[in-house]
């Protein structure tokens, strides 16, 4: 596979053609219908750039398909969650733009992953956003909604991070996964900010994120202070600008697939 060509194709699709089309359409040369059609087609074109290195999607390595279907499951969950809340009056006007752009990103993540997977894409499951009765006011109480949103985003960051090493045999897809991972992190920080939390994860409990202990699993292990064999508490001892909390904040921790599946299972109907 010619990585450079592929990447340059992607760059063209994403960075140039669509910027240019967006620019043109802003100037009114494209009708809003055309613009919508272009937007809908973008994930397909991107997917085509990603899959052509492998011929057909059916020739994607199985490990890559597994990762992408797992990612798709989480994106379905997030998209359906935000889409259900879309335009509900419980979301304060100050935050409607934020949740709309998040909803939109989850929607195009779903489209992109489905397009890359083609016939191998799993269908959307049914969800239960009460998590089997744990949350009784998910879509009527903004605080509950935002708390679940934060948990989903922080968990999504950990889930993608846990899969990076499983995509090393598909560099172009790895890069896309890293870019989605960062988008989830941007969402997570903003939702945390809306909830009056720091944008970064302190320690390894839900309580430290202003969340109920029922979501402890999403934060377990985030209190790690040893990275790549370096104990950072020891390495930075004596620097009074550095706190133990900061050391936990400075690195986000991955989660493996089984752990994430366990965390989100209550949200599946």
């Amino acid at each position: 596979m010619n990585l450079q060509n592929l990447l340059s194709d992607i760059e063209k699709v994403d960075g140039e053609i669509f910027d240019r089309l967006a620019h043109v359409s802003r100037r009114g040369l494209f009708s809003s219908l055309t613009k919508k059609t272009i937007a809908a087609a973008a994930p397909a074109i991107m997917a085509s750039a990603l899959t052509k290195a492998y011929g057909q999607s059916s020739s994607l390595p199985q490990n890559v398909k597994d990762v992408l279907n797992y990612a798709l499951t989480l994106e379905y969950l997030e998209y359906r969650f935000y889409d259900t809340a879309n335009n509900l009056s419980m979301i304060p006007n100050d935050y409607k733009m934020a949740f709309e752009v998040i909803r939109r990103h989850e929607q195009v993540h779903v489209r992109l992953l489905k397009n890359v997977l083609g016939a191998d894409a799993i269908p959307e499951p049914k969800f239960d956003f009460s998590a089997k009765g744990t949350f009784t006011d998910t879509f009527s109480n903004f605080q509950t909604f935002a708390a679940i949103a934060q948990t989903f985003e922080d968990t999504g960051v950990r889930a993608y991070k846990g899969q990076a090493a499983n995509l090393m045999n598909a560099p172009a897809i790895l890069q896309v996964a890293l870019q989605i991972h960062a988008t989830e992190a941007a969402h997570a920080a903003n939702v945390r900010y809306i909830r009056n939390q720091k944008g970064w994860i302190t320690g390894g409990t839900a309580a430290m994120q202003g969340l109920p202990s029922v979501v402890n699993g999403s934060y377990a292990g985030e209190d790690n202070v040893t990275q790549g064999g370096v104990n950072l508490v020891s390495a930075l001892a004596g620097d009074n600008r550095i706190t133990a909390d900061m050391i936990t904040q400075a690195f986000d921790e991955p989660l493996d697939k089984n752990t994430v599946v366990g965390i989100v299972t209550p949200f599946f109907a």
Binding site: L3, A98, Y160, T183, Y193
Partner: protein
Amino acid sequence: MENITNRPETTTSEMASSRRSFLRVAGAAAVTGGLLTACSHADDNYLIPSGSARAAGDTVKLPTGDVGILAFAYVLEQLEAAFYEMLLAKPYPNMSSSDRQLWTDIRGHEIIHREFFKAALGGAVPTLTFNFSSIDFNDRAAVLIAAEAFEKTGVGAYNGAGKYIKDAGYLTLAGKIVSVETRHHSILRELQYPKSDAFAGPTIVTSDTGLHLAYEPTYVLPIAQKYILETIDASALVSSLA
């Protein structure tokens, strides 16, 4: 995971002094085009680290392969940490307590990243010298713009370099850092454009595919070079990437 503190040290440091004169003649000009003529700055916007600081005009050659990518990350983390150290050494007037807390947190994270790479690389890249004289540290808006630009560069750099990493442990480590850089970036955008979608708007995340920034190392280095007195020579690193 492999203990990266036990990696064999690359030879850059040891070789640097003997190679320096040669690089000045033959190598430096060919690299990033970023040869600095920085000796004339008279103000106090330098951060001159104690110990192994080098003079402006020295060339720092990044190693090849995975160690080279970590060294590239170390350069960027040094830059970010130095910027936030300067920011809090020269706080803008009437810095609010919430702003101070934010900058203190971010400075802490970047120092931690820097010291992590320093320990991990074991001297493959020296402590660099920075010049932030182009940034008005007395102006909150200017500081936010600069910080946002540094974080944006960092996010894009990690996202663009990940596919070149051969060691799964290093890739995961890069992933652990990039999401924190992205969190910084997201919050800085929120401070610049409160209560909007700027934290992930179309100049940051593609509307049609939902992808955050990714920059090739060759794009990132000239941006960082503007603030670094030494010349960063990434030519061997770049040609080793595939």
